[in-house]
């Protein structure tokens, strides 16, 4: 029974991490494309940008809904505490996502496309900013009392460290958005995004390096954990691997390869994610509440696992199928007909 009590929260931690990773990767390029649309000057280009997302954005966003539900069910204490602590950045994200979503629907039918274009771009940016601040402040830790309830103040989430994380995340989204557009477009538009991808790769790297350096300096708990064996070995491999991956990415961008930049970017995201997971685990509110303290009753975790666990491969299957059906380049405001 003890082993079970230990094992189940870990399983749910991994499932949540999977949902979060899929969300960050998939809606990440949606948001990145949205942010990039702010820079594109003409209507045809924006049209292509939005069409490249039309059939997938709500499936991608669903991973966030799923993560919210799973966090609520598996770690109710963390769900309540984190969300009430991050009231402002969470609503920032929600309002941003609302703007983005309605821009998709209304732009198509509107004569004043300029307004909805702006809503699409600005919404994506605000949503990414809210997510970045949320991520940053969760990593920093949230002020809680002994029972795990939030006792900090409204603006705790806002400081230079969470701003740094937010900016790095936005750059990361721009990077994955650019490499996605390299996959989906051709000609001039593709050329533009080879350039934005290069720029974003460099700024993301700078952000990541700053975060990697400052985190152990500022947070004692992270330092003690990460700088003692065996974690020190894994932790030191991550930055090295990261720099190699960024190198590979830049090389593929220079060679103007179409598919590999997206793959390298995903691997960079994955690596960052593993790094963050190592800093956080076994806490769900870093250095305050562990996953074991915040977990729902074992019976609830088993109950959820039997229903959701079985569905994960199925969900992955039909989401992948969706991408297979819509593979290929976007032309104008339609997809190229598949042969």
């Amino acid at each position: 029974m003890d082993a079970l009590i230990h094992f189940l929260p870990q399983v749910w931690f991994v499932i949540l991490a999977l949902f979060l990773f899929l969300y960050v990767m998939l809606d990440g390029f949606d948001l990145g494309v949205g942010i990039l649309s702010l820079t594109s000057s003409d209507e045809e280009r924006r049209s292509i940008l939005m069409t490249s997302l039309g059939n997938i954005w709500d499936a991608n966003e669903t991973w966030l809904v799923l993560m919210g539900g799973a966090l609520f069910g598996a770690f109710p204490l963390a769900y309540g505490t984190i969300l009430s602590a991050l009231y402002i950045p969470i609503f920032m994200m929600i309002f941003g996502l609302i703007f983005r979503a309605v821009a998709f629907e209304f732009r198509e039918h509107s004569d004043r496309k300029l307004f909805w274009n702006a809503a699409f771009g600005a919404g994506s940016f605000i949503a990414a900013l809210g997510q970045g601040f949320s991520l940053g402040s969760v990593i920093e830790g949230i002020a809680v009392d002994e029972a795990g309830h939030f006792i900090g103040s409204t603006w705790d989430w806002l400081d230079w460290r969470s701003l740094l994380v937010a900016l790095a995340l936005i750059q990361g989204y721009v990077l994955i958005g650019s490499t996605y557009l390299i996959l989906k477009t051709e000609g001039d538009l593709q050329k533009t995004h080879f350039r934005t991808a290069k720029l974003a790769a460099i700024t993301t790297l700078v952000g990541a390096v700053l975060i990697t350096i400052t985190t152990p300096i500022v947070y004692e708990a992270a330092r003690t954990r990460l700088f003692s064996p065996p974690l020190i070995y894994i932790f030191s491999i991550i930055p090295v691997l990261g720099i190699i991956l960024v190198g590979l990415l830049l090389r593929s961008l220079n060679k103007e390869e179409e598919n590999t930049p997206f793959v390298w970017t995903i691997l960079i995201f994955l690596l960052t994610f593993i790094g963050l997971g190592m800093i956080v685990f076994p806490y769900i509110i870093p250095n305050q509440i562990t996953i074991y303290q915040a977990a729902a009753a074992p019976s609830a975790l088993v109950f959820m696992l039997t229903f959701i666990g079985v569905l994960i491969p199925i969900m992955l299957f039909y989401n992948i199928y969706n991408y297979v059906v819509f593979r290929g380049k976007v032309v104008g405001d339609v997809y190229e007909e598949s042969s």
Partner: protein, 480 residues
């Protein structure tokens, strides 16, 4: 003002506002998804290209509403954490799991197959496409199921007990199959279906009345009518069963629904109030029209009550819902609309049987068509009123008899909630007006009758020839 510094009241207003607005969109898409399955199925079966054009036309309205539904629904899930953290912690084991199921089983299915349903016509074969449409409809209705499981569990908690302020679940399946579940799920399932049917019917009637594509839209009107024959009376019946259930499990809500202050004892007849002006300060109705001896007939189809019907005065003021007038009139509006729609269905059925709904004659049924147009928004109003009865009537409890709303709210600075509430009010109003505007644009444009029909087989290609095409009827040997 006191209200503006009261976090609990502001959080309640925010939840109510977002829920009332959000519901407008999925209530249409959930039912319409079933309609889309029907027309696409009819197309595959009959190969009549008009059914294909129906599928394409109505899915334009579908996707508009779906997109806004997703956008407006997102805050619903996150508000439990932001504004109702103590509640989330207390009921997370069950309530959170169910929201997770809704995401994983239902919403993901709908969103995952939506892309193929909307944009996949030329990319997958018709059978796969039909499967995608079915999955979208199945997912949407599974959402209704899980959300109503979660809500009815709050109305009639089962499967465990409160221990030190946390709900410990002992039997998950008992919690899912809580006393309210089956009737609540069915009532809402038929509500979404009925709302969509009358929206589709109303829009079809508008086209017919305006002399646009009369034959085409009398098709959709008849599909709607065929379904409504079963749905409208059934919904009234399920509604009645739901009210009986409220009487049994939530007597305070029933008393508020009937603005009943004093208890009617068993073994005696009691009046049923038709219209009244409830006044909470005097605990009475200042004005009332009532039907003598009506209550017994409504509850048990006989004059004398066999069990007492409790009045609000039986409970201390702190244990019963306030806003009695709102609950009382919402209930009457909902049931009134239910009967009105059933009546409209009967009238239409009669005309259909008299042969007056054939595509040549239907345009002459001006008043019938006008009534259908008038009925188009009524489903929405009924659904909203029903939810007001359900959730305002449950007060002062968030979880009936277990967790008070005042104890469920996060302790947040009121200013934060006021800001988010104001933003929601502004944004949701824009969404509402924009949906009406762009929805009516889609309707004014009308269906695209020149759509290329996906190739089922060569037989269909012949049917898609333009109407002006006249086949060469000379004998074969003289052609060319």
């Amino acid at each position: 003002m006191d209200l503006l510094s009261n976090t609990v009241a502001l959080s309640r207003m925010q939840f109510a506002l977002t829920a009332i607005f959000h519901m407008l969109w999925p209530v249409l898409t959930t039912g319409m998804a079933i309609y889309l399955v029907i027309v696409e199925g009819l197309w595959l079966k009959t190969r009549n290209p008009d059914y294909y054009r129906h599928a394409r036309f109505w899915s334009k309205l579908y996707v508009l509403n779906f997109g806004i539904g997703v956008a407006s629904g997102l805050p619903m899930e996150f508000q439990f954490g932001t504004n109702w953290a103590p509640f989330s912690e207390a009921v997370g084991d069950f309530f959170g799991s169910i929201l997770g199921f809704e995401g994983a089983m239902a919403f993901m299915l709908e969103a995952g197959f939506l892309g193929i349903m909307l944009f996949g016509w030329g990319r997958v074969n018709p059978v796969i496409h039909y499967l995608a449409t079915i999955m979208v409809a199945f997912g949407a209705n599974l959402s209704t199921f899980w959300i109503l499981v979660a809500n009815s569990w709050l109305q009639s908690p089962a499967g465990g007990e409160m221990v030190d302020g946390k709900f410990i679940v002992s039997d998950y399946f008992q919690a899912i199959a809580n006393p309210f579940m089956i009737k609540s799920v069915s009532h809402m399932f038929f509500a979404t279906l009925e709302t969509s049917l009358f929206v589709i019917g109303g829009i079809s009637a508008w086209y017919i009345l305006n002399n646009r594509h009369q034959a085409f839209f009398s098709q959709s009107l008849k599909i709607v009518l065929a379904a409504a024959i079963a749905v409208t009376p059934l919904q009234i019946y399920i509604g009645h069963l739901s009210a009986e259930q409220v009487a049994q499990y939530q007597p305070t809500k029933l008393a508020a629904m009937e603005a009943k202050w004093d208890t009617s004892p068993a073994g005696q007849p009691a009046d049923w109030s038709l219209l009244a002006l409830p006044d909470e300060s005097t605990q009475s109705n200042t004005w009332e029209i009532s039907i003598p001896n009506g209550l017994g007939y409504i509850l048990e189809f006989k004059k004398n009550l066999s069990a007492p019907v409790l009045g609000l005065k039986e409970w201390p003021s702190s244990d019963r819902p306030h806003m009695v007038g709102l609950i009382y009139y919402s209930f009457r509006i909902m049931s009134g609309i239910g009967f009105f729609l059933a009546g409209l269905m009967l009238w239409s059925l009669l005309q259909w049987m008299l042969g007056n709904l054939s595509s040549e004659k239907i345009a002459r049924q001006t008043w019938l068509l006008r009534t259908w147009i008038f009925a188009a928004p009524l489903g929405y109003i009924a659904v909203e009123s029903g939810w007001i009865v359900r959730c305002v009537g449950r007060q002062p409890w968030t979880m009936y008899g277990q967790i008070r709303t005042a104890d469920a709210a996060s302790q947040l600075p009121a200013g934060n909630v006021l800001t988010s509430l104001t933003l929601f009010a502004v944004i949701y109003s824009i969404l509402f007006v924009s949906t009406l505007y762009f929805g009516s644009r889609i309707i004014r444009q009308g269906p695209n009758m020149e759509l290329t029909i996906p190739n089922l087989d060569p037989a269909v290609a012949i049917e898609t020839e333009p109407a002006t095409f006249v086949p060469d009827q000379r004998p074969i040997e003289t052609q060319q």
